[in-house]
C-alpha cells in the first residue's frame, strides 16, 4: 500500500514536472537584466508618482525607453545617476515639482474645529458642499495629510495643511484626494507662467496688483520669520522689489479689506523691509532658472518692462539680450525718478542681480538707428520684445515754448540724472500736476532754486501721489493752483524770462470725472522765471519704427495716443513674434504695471517659441471679482498701521539728495504683517475670541 501510494504520487509529480518543464521552455520570458538592477536601485516606495504601476513598472518603462532615467520623483540625484548609468545615459536634471496649497485660511479654518461628522474633506464636500462659505477654500479635515505617503503634510495651528518641502516628492496623492482643488503640484516654470485665474484663491490685493504678486503669502512668510522665502515669493512675480518698494503708489493697498477697520496693511513697507534686508546683507539670494533652451530673444529697452521680460525669459531657460539707447539700464526709474526717492546705488544693485542670471546687455545701441527688426531677424533672434517706454514730452501748446530756458520734465530729469547739470537759475516754474512735475520741482528745490508749481486744477485733483504732494509742500515748493500757461515771453537773446498764465475756474466734470478747468478771460498774469519746465505728459516716441518723416511706413499698428496696439492678453503685436509691454503699450503708467505686463509678454514669448501657440485660459482674471469686494468687515480688532521713519526732515531736505524715507525695523515689520487678515475670496481672519465664538454659535 505504501509502495502504491508512493508510486502514484511520484508519477503524478513526474507528470506535473514534465508538463512544467515543457511549459517553462515554451513560456520562457527573456527579461532584460537591467530591469532588476534598476528596480533594486529605485527607492521602492511604490508611490505611483511616476505614473507607472509601482517601482517595477517604472523600471520596466525605463528599460523600454518609455520613461527617462529620472522618472522617479522620490529618488535623489545620486539614485538617478545610478539608474542613468545602468541605462548608459547621462543624467538630465528635472525641475522639481512640489505640492502647494493656495488657500490662505481665514475664518473657515477655525470653523472646522467645531464641525462634527465625517472627518473627511471629500465626505464633507459631498454631504454639504462643505460647511464653509467659500466655494473653493480648504475644508481643513486633513484628508491630504492622511493621503500623503511621505508624511510631508501636517495640519498647521490655523487648521490649514502645511507642506514640508524637504519631504514632499510631488507625487500628487494629496491633489487627487482634495475635493476643493486647493492643492496642486507645480514646478517653478508652471508657477512663473501662471496667470491669475478667477478660480484661484485670490485676496483682493492680489487681484488688484498689476504684477499679480502673491501678497498674502509673502506677508505670512514675514510673520513666520521666513524672510528669504518672502523675497522668493515676490521674485516669482516681480524682479524689481527694491525699486517697487520705494516708488510704487500701491494699487494693492486701495483694495485691502483692513481699510474698513482702520487703515490698509502697509504692504509696500513690508516689501521694502525684506528687499532692503537682502540688499544690505551683502549676500544675494539664489534665483533658480530652468534648464537652458538655447532660444535667443531680443529685448529692446531696458526699463522695468524690458528688465522684467528678460528676467522671466531667463528664468524660463531662454537667452535674452537687452538693447538700450541709454548708457545704463533702468529706463525712467533711473532717468526719471530722482535719487532722493530711489538711490542709484540700490538701483544698480538690483539690476546687476538680474543681469547676473545670464542676460546679455548692449547699451548705447538705439533701435531704429543701430539696428532694426530686420537685422535682429538676421542675427537669429527667435522673438523680439519692444519696451521702449514713453519718452516724448507733450507740449504746453503755448506760444514760445521752444525758446531757450524751456525744458521738458523728462528731458530735465534725464539731463540731471546723466550729471549734465542743466542751468536752472534761481526761480523755476514747473507746469503740471503729475509725478513727473513733482519730481522735477523737488529736484530743483534740492538744486537750490525757488520753485513754483503751476497746475490748472486744484490740489484735490492733482494726479500725483498724496505723499509726493505733501513732500513737496514740506520742502518749500510754492503751489499756484488754477493757473494755465498762455505764453512764454523771451528777451532779445531768445531766452525765456517770464511765463504768462491765465487764472482758471472749475466747470462741469469731464469724462474723467474731474471738473474741467475753464479759463477766466482777461485774467492774464506774468511770473518771472529762469527756467520753465513743462511736465504735462509723455507719449511713446515711435520714430524708431518708421523711416524718417513717413509715419505710414511703421510696420506695427498704433493708437491715437501714439502707443503700440497689441493683444491685451498675449501682448503680441500685429507682427507675429514681436511682443510689447510697458509705457509704450499703455501710455505713461506705473513701474509695477510695466513689470507685470513684462512678465505676461515673457510668458507669451515662452509659449510662442516653444509651442507656437499662446494659451489664455478662459478663467483668466482681468477685473476685480465682484463678490470679493466688501463694504464692511466685522470682528476685527483695531491695530495701528506702521509709519515709515523719515531719514531727513523738511528743512534739511532741500539741499540733499539722500533718500527721504527709511525702512521698518524687524519688530515693526512683524507687527505690520500681523495686521494682515489673510483674506481669501470671501473669507478673512476674524480676530475674535474662540470662547465667544463657541457661545455665539451655540456649540
Amino acid at each position: 500500500m505504501i509502495i502504491t501510494s508512493g508510486l502514484t504520487l511520484f508519477s503524478i509529480g513526474l507528470g506535473a514536472a514534465t508538463i512544467l518543464s515543457v511549459a517553462g521552455r515554451l513560456l520562457y520570458v527573456k527579461e532584460d537584466p537591467r530591469i532588476t538592477r534598476i528596480e533594486e536601485a529605485l527607492p521602492g516606495a511604490n508611490c505611483g508618482g511616476c505614473g507607472f504601476p509601482g517601482c517595477s513598472g517604472a523600471a520596466a518603462a525605463i528599460v523600454a525607453n518609455k520613461a527617462s532615467a529620472s522618472v522617479c520623483i522620490v529618488a535623489d540625484a545620486e539614485t538617478n545617476g545610478v539608474v542613468a548609468a545602468i541605462m548608459g545615459q547621462e543624467v538630465v536634471e528635472r525641475e522639481p515639482e512640489l505640492a502647494m496649497c493656495d488657500c490662505t485660511g481665514g475664518q473657515r479654518a477655525t470653523d472646522t474645529f467645531y464641525y462634527e461628522g465625517a472627518f473627511d474633506c471629500r465626505a464633507a464636500h459631498q454631504l454639504y458642499g462643505g460647511s464653509k462659505s467659500c466655494p473653493s477654500g480648504c475644508l481643513g479635515f486633513g484628508t491630504c495629510v492622511r493621503a500623503c505617503s511621505f508624511n510631508a503634510i501636517h495640519m498647521g495651528p490655523d487648521g490649514l495643511p502645511v507642506i514640508d518641502y524637504d519631504e514632499c516628492k510631488g507625487c500628487g496623492s494629496c491633489v487627487d484626494v482634495c475635493p476643493r482643488g486647493v492643492i496642486g503640484v507645480v514646478g517653478m516654470t508652471a508657477r512663473l507662467l501662471h496667470l491669475n485665474q478667477t478660480t484661484d484663491c485670490l485676496a483682493p490685493c492680489q487681484q488688484k496688483c498689476p504684477a499679480q504678486i502673491d501678497i498674502p503669502k509673502y506677508i505670512s512668510q514675514i510673520k513666520m520669520g521666513d524672510l528669504d522665502g518672502a523675497v522668493a515669493t515676490i521674485r516669482e512675480r516681480n524682479p524689481l522689489l527694491v525699486i517697487c518698494s520705494r516708488v510704487c503708489p500701491r494699487p494693492c493697498e486701495t483694495q485691502c479689506r483692513r481699510q474698513h477697520v482702520d487703515e490698509p496693511v502697509g504692504i509696500n513697507m513690508l516689501k521694502r523691509f525684506v528687499a532692503d534686508r537682502e540688499l544690505r546683507s551683502g549676500v544675494r539670494l539664489p534665483i533658480p532658472c530652468a534648464k537652458d533652451t538655447g532660444k535667443k530673444i531680443a529685448v529692446i529697452g531696458g526699463g522695468p518692462a524690458g528688465l522684467s521680460c528678460a528676467y522671466f525669459l531667463r528664468r524660463l531657460g531662454h537667452h535674452p539680450t537687452i538693447f538700450d539707447a541709454m548708457p545704463e539700464l533702468g529706463g525712467q526709474t533711473r532717468y526719471g525718478i530722482p535719487e532722493y526717492r530711489l538711490p542709484k546705488a540700490d538701483l544698480d544693485w538690483e539690476i546687476q542681480g538680474i543681469l547676473d542670471l545670464g542676460i546679455s546687455v548692449k547699451v548705447n545701441t538705439k533701435f531704429g538707428v543701430d539696428f532694426t527688426l530686420e537685422t535682429l531677424k538676421e542675427e537669429g533672434f527667435d522673438a523680439t520684445f519692444l519696451g521702449i517706454g514713453a519718452w516724448q514730452a507733450s507740449g504746453m501748446y503755448a506760444e514760445g515754448e521752444d525758446l531757450d530756458g524751456v525744458m521738458g520734465g523728462i528731458e530735465f530729469l534725464t539731463a540731471h540724472a546723466l550729471g549734465q547739470k542743466p542751468a536752472i537759475g534761481d526761480h523755476v516754474i514747473v507746469v503740471g500736476g503729475g509725478n513727473t512735475a513733482i519730481d522735477a520741482a523737488r529736484t530743483c528745490i534740492r538744486l537750490g532754486a525757488e520753485v513754483t508749481l503751476m497746475y490748472r486744477r486744484t490740489r484735490t485733483e492733482m494726479p500725483a501721489d498724496m505723499e509726493e504732494i505733501v513732500g513737496a509742500e514740506e520742502e518749500g515748493v510754492q503751489f499756484e493752483f488754477l493757473a494755465a500757461p498762455a505764453r512764454v515771453i523771451g528777451d532779445e537773446n531768445g531766452r525765456a524770462t517770464h511765463l504768462e498764465y491765465y487764472e482758471m475756474e472749475l466747470g462741469e466734470p469731464d469724462n474723467s470725472g474731474r471738473r474741467r478747468p475753464v479759463k477766466k478771460e482777461g485774467s492774464e498774469k506774468r511770473m518771472a522765471a529762469s527756467l520753465i519746465i513743462p511736465a504735462i505728459g509723455q507719449k511713446p516716441d515711435l520714430s524708431c519704427l518708421y523711416e524718417e518723416g513717413d509715419e505710414e511706413s511703421c510696420p506695427l499698428e498704433t493708437t491715437r495716443w501714439q502707443t503700440i496696439l497689441a493683444n491685451e492678453d498675449t501682448f503680441e503685436t500685429a507682427i507675429p513674434g514681436i511682443f510689447t509691454a510697458g509705457d509704450v503699450y499703455t501710455g505713461p503708467d506705473l513701474v509695477v504695471s510695466a513689470i507685470g505686463d513684462g512678465r505676461k509678454a515673457a510668458r507669451s514669448i515662452h509659449y510662442y517659441i516653444t509651442q507656437g501657440e499662446i494659451p489664455i485660459p478662459d478663467a483668466t482674471q482681468r477685473d476685480m471679482i465682484p463678490h470679493t469686494l466688501f463694504k464692511e468687515i466685522n470682528n476685527v480688532e483695531r491695530k495701528d498701521r506702521a509709519v515709515l521713519s523719515h531719514l531727513c526732515h523738511g528743512d534739511e531736505r532741500n539741499c540733499t539728495f539722500n533718500e527721504v524715507e527709511g525702512p521698518l525695523s524687524e519688530a515693526e515689520a512683524r507687527a505690520e504683517a500681523d495686521r494682515c487678515l489673510r483674506c481669501g475670496l470671501v473669507c478673512y481672519d476674524e480676530t475674535i475670541d474662540q470662547q465667544e465664538y463657541r457661545e455665539k454659535k451655540n456649540i
Binding site: 504520487l9 503524478i12 509529480g13 514536472a17 512544467l20 513560456l27
Partner: protein, 191 residues
C-alpha cells in the same frame, strides 16, 4: 437550467467561499487594499479554481478511483494544484505581464490558497459531474472575487479616514470582513 442557476447563485452568494465558508482568508485580507489588485487577484483565483477543479476531477475519476487510491485525494490534489499555479504563473508572465506585475507576490499565495483547494474538495464530496464541477468552481471563484472587490472598495475609502492607531490596516480589515460575512448570512435562507 434552473438548477444551474441555483447552483451558480448558491456558490456565489449563499455559500460564498470566503464569507460563508471562511476559506482563503489570507489573500482576502492581503490583496484587498486596492481594487485594481483585487480584480487581478480575483481573476487569478477564478482561473486557477476552474482549472484546478477540472483537473482534480479528472485525476480523481481516472487515476485515484480506478486504483482505489482515493485516500490519497488530499495529497494528490495539493501536488496537482501547486503545479498548476506554477504553470499559471509562467503563463501570466509571458502573456499578460502587466497583470503578473500587479499580482506580484500574491500569485504564489494561490498555491496554498485553501479556497482553491476547498472548491476542488467540495466538488468531490458532492460527487458532481465534470460540467457541474467547472460551473461550481467558476461561480465560487466569482464569489471570492466579488467579496474581494467589495472589501477592497471599502478599504480604499477607509485608508484616508481618521481611525484609532491600533485599528489601522489589517485589524479594521478583519472587522470589515466579519461585518461583510454577517451581511452575507442574509442570503442563507434564500435557497
Amino acid at each position: 437550467m434552473q438548477e444551474y442557476f441555483l447552483l451558480f447563485m448558491g456558490a456565489m452568494f449563499v455559500n460564498n467561499i470566503v464569507l460563508a465558508q471562511y476559506l482563503g482568508n489570507c489573500p482576502f485580507i492581503g490583496t484587498s487594499k486596492e481594487s485594481g489588485v483585487a480584480v487581478g487577484m480575483g481573476g487569478a483565483v477564478v482561473f486557477v479554481a476552474v482549472m484546478a477543479a477540472a483537473i482534480t476531477w479528472l485525476v480523481q475519476r481516472y487515476i485515484l478511483l480506478p486504483f482505489g487510491l482515493d485516500y490519497l485525494q488530499t495529497l494528490a490534489f495539493i501536488l496537482v494544484i501547486a503545479s498548476l499555479v506554477q504553470f499559471v504563473e509562467m503563463f501570466l508572465k509571458k502573456m499578460i505581464p502587466a497583470l503578473y506585475k500587479s499580482l506580484g507576490i500574491f500569485l504564489p499565495l494561490i498555491t496554498t490558497n485553501c479556497a482553491v483547494m476547498g472548491i476542488a474538495l467540495i466538488c468531490q464530496r458532492e460527487e458532481m459531474d465534470l460540467l457541474t464541477t467547472v460551473l461550481f468552481a467558476f461561480a465560487s471563484g466569482m464569489g471570492f472575487m466579488i467579496a474581494l472587490i467589495l472589501l477592497a472598495g471599502i478599504r480604499e475609502k477607509l485608508a484616508v479616514r481618521r481611525l484609532p492607531m491600533a485599528m489601522r490596516g489589517t485589524p479594521i480589515g478583519l472587522v470589515l470582513a466579519g461585518l461583510m460575512s454577517l451581511a452575507f448570512f442574509a442570503f442563507k435562507g434564500m435557497i
